[in-house]
């Protein structure tokens, strides 16, 4: 019956889904962009304080986390290519690898922040109140920006795990993969932000 066929047709607009995700990414870029602007202004006002403060950060830990994020960005892109080719096993392995790398990133972050906390350096601490204005601003921005970035990592992991379940349930397949595509875009955004955070916070001193 032709009536039956009409009911089977499910409306789908991949382009619109992708455009919607990109519009959201634009708001994220401007959110972090605003924070980078605040950083730049205060850096220009307190160059010496920012220089001294950035020396407190471990370039080694920062570098490890940069490598982790770059590799995870590739693994999620591999996962999308694998789904498009119909290789669901590889796609799932790559998603799990991405999540494992995200976990490693957060463990690093835990030790990094933990060391700062141990030295009495955390938002609102007594030590922070005693610091020079420039140092205070640097560490406030450091905790806020890397903290907001870490929150994005957690959200990204949740999105990737949902994609994993959808591949498992054959909801994400070779000719319908928009959920994974958008989750991957979000993950690349997290990587993109870190690409700018790393040199500004850890390296330029």
């Amino acid at each position: 019956m032709s009536n039956h066929e009409v009911h089977e047709h499910v409306h789908r607009d991949d382009e619109a889904q992708k455009l919607g995700m990109w519009l959201f990414i634009f708001t994220e870029l401007l959110l972090f962009g605003g924070l980078f602007l605040v950083y730049s202004i205060f850096r220009a006002q307190y160059p010496a304080n920012f220089h001294e403060s950035s020396l407190e950060l471990s370039v080694t830990l920062g570098t490890i986390n940069t490598v982790i994020l770059l590799v995870s960005s590739m693994s999620v892109a591999l996962s999308l290519s694998a789904v498009q080719k119909g290789n669901y096993k590889l796609a799932k392995i790559m998603l799990l690898l991405t999540v494992a790398l995200a976990f490693a990133f957060m463990v690093n972050k835990y030790f990094e922040w933990g060391a700062k906390f141990h030295h009495g350096l955390y938002p609102g601490s007594e030590l922070m109140q005693l610091l020079d204005r420039g140092h205070h601003l640097y560490f406030s921005l450091y905790f806020f920006m890397t903290g907001l970035h870490a929150l994005h990592i957690i959200i990204g992991v949740i999105l990737l795990l949902i994609s994993y379940v959808k591949i498992q349930k054959s909801k994400v397949v070779a000719d319908n993969y928009m959920h994974l595509e958008n989750a991957a875009l979000y993950w690349h955004l997290v990587d993109l932000i870190w690409i700018f955070l790393f040199p500004l916070m850890y390296l330029i001193s």
Partner: protein, 94 residues
């Protein structure tokens, strides 16, 4: 080019892109470890910009997206550049 024939990025391409990004990361670390004054900041931001462009083009596969999307993304960065410029002009001349 239509939505029925999506571009699939080859595994090999993704691997090469990762190697380029890792190389640029270590170049940034090397450049910032030698003291070049104001040039250090410029170099580090320039390399970060190149890395960002590569991520957007290949990992986020903008290369194979519609012209509309490419223009929209470019406009966001233009908008941000204008905001930065205006803010710095404000701080420089107040």
């Amino acid at each position: 080019m239509s939505e029925h024939t999506p571009h699939i990025t080859p595994y090999r391409t993704l691997g090469i892109i990762l190697l380029i990004l890792l190389t640029l990361t270590f170049v940034t670390i090397e450049i910032t470890s030698i003291h070049l004054g104001a040039f250090t900041v410029t170099a580090a931001l320039l390399i970060a910009g190149i890395k960002g462009f590569i991520v957007l083009t290949y990992f986020m596969h903008l290369k194979h997206e519609s012209l509309l999307l490419k223009i929209l993304v470019a406009m966001v960065f233009v908008l941000f550049a204008i905001i930065v410029l205006i803010t710095f002009i404000d701080y420089a001349f107040r």
